[in-house]
């Protein structure tokens, strides 16, 4: 592909994402492009089941904050591991952690950071699950203003 200088790889840290990661790194290597590794934190959804810190079907703000910062820390750590992996392969890589709805944030980040291409994995759900859940990847395809490479997870 001509003039690929910056690649945005979006990951949800699933197995479906890791196949795409290999492609993104390879692409960055062959084009000597910069690789941005993105994860989007979706709002924490909590289903209270009674017990610690939970009363009357709600959780206290403190517990919520703890949950949130724990998820954030875990995401940072996983992104860090990906950055290390990419750098080991000789690719200039950096991490980006955003919050919000995944597809929107991915498309937006690609635009604001001037990515030439987005690389993203697909889960390959079939049947009813596919029909109802759709997929982040297909929404990114619809929203993005740059080419999107989708790679089916193993």
């Amino acid at each position: 592909m001509p003039r690929v200088r910056r690649i945005l790889y979006a990951s949800d840290f699933s197995r479906a994402s890791s196949a795409a990661f290999g492609r993104a790194v390879e692409m960055a290597k062959t084009n000597r492009a910069e690789l941005l590794l993105l994860h989007v934190l979706e709002p924490v959804a909590v289903i209270p089941a009674g017990g610690g810190g939970i009363s009357g079907g709600y959780i206290s703000p403190k517990v919520y904050e703890q949950l949130e910062s724990a998820t954030r820390a875990a995401a940072q750590k996983q992104l860090g591991a990906l950055v290390a992996k990419a750098r080991k392969a000789g690719v200039k890589a950096s991490r980006v952690l955003l919050e919000g709805m995944s597809a929107n944030q991915i498309a937006r980040a690609a635009k604001s950071r001037r990515a030439d291409v987005i690389v993203i994995g697909t889960h390959g759900r079939t049947g009813l699950a596919r029909f109802f859940l759709g997929s982040v990847a297909s929404r990114v395809v619809a929203l993005a203003r740059c080419p999107v490479l989708t790679v089916r997870g193993k």
Binding site: T122, S135, A142, P147, V148
Partner: protein
């Protein structure tokens, strides 16, 4: 990524133009075989599709092995079937970039292919290089949602001004919360 063969699916529309260029460049750079296909709807005469494919292929530089085919049926299914048959390592296709209601109703060929192909797909929107010029960035439609109340751009379902208006209204009417 080692490209053995690239499958370009085109609908001859302007949405496919950049995808066409990218696929040709990629095939050339990767010394890959290029398959170019066009799908005509079921029970439709192919018309001049074969002729147009030939014209398209003529623009490709030397050194690329090209194969063209006019397929008939539902586009996503035919594209995927052909990709499997030829074991294409990459499918390239343009997207129209419909959003909102028309998108929800019509879906898109590209999305169906992405979900069902089981192999790498490169979707290419209309003229992405337009966004390279800073002046055009502002002119581009934003990616955010519209507020369901006032249709203003917002990240949320209801924008902040509307939300406070609703809150104020609720307060005035003596509703709790």
């Amino acid at each position: 990524m080692k490209l053995e063969s690239v499958l370009l699916a085109t609908d001859f529309s302007s949405a496919s133009e950049y995808a066409e260029r990218l696929a040709m460049d990629m095939a050339q750079a990767g010394h890959a075989r290029l398959h170019v296909v066009h799908v005509v709807p079921p029970v439709t005469a192919p018309g001049d599709a074969a002729e147009r494919l030939t014209q398209l292929v003529r623009r490709i530089g030397p050194g690329v092995a090209v194969e063209t085919a006019v397929l008939s049926g539902r586009p996503p299914r035919e594209i995927i079937r052909y990709a499997r048959e030829k074991d294409a390592s990459l499918i390239v296709l343009g997207t129209h970039g419909r959003t909102g209601v028309s998108h929800a109703l019509l879906g898109s060929v590209a999305e169906a292919v992405v979900r069902l192909a089981g192999r790498p797909v490169l979707t290419v929107p209309l003229m992405p290089e337009a966004s390279a010029a800073p002046a055009d960035v502002a002119a581009e439609p934003p990616l955010s949602h519209h507020c369901v109340v006032c249709v203003r751009e917002t990240d949320d379902l209801i924008c902040e001004p509307c939300r406070s208006r609703i809150r104020g209204e609720a307060l005035r009417r003596g509703m709790p919360g």
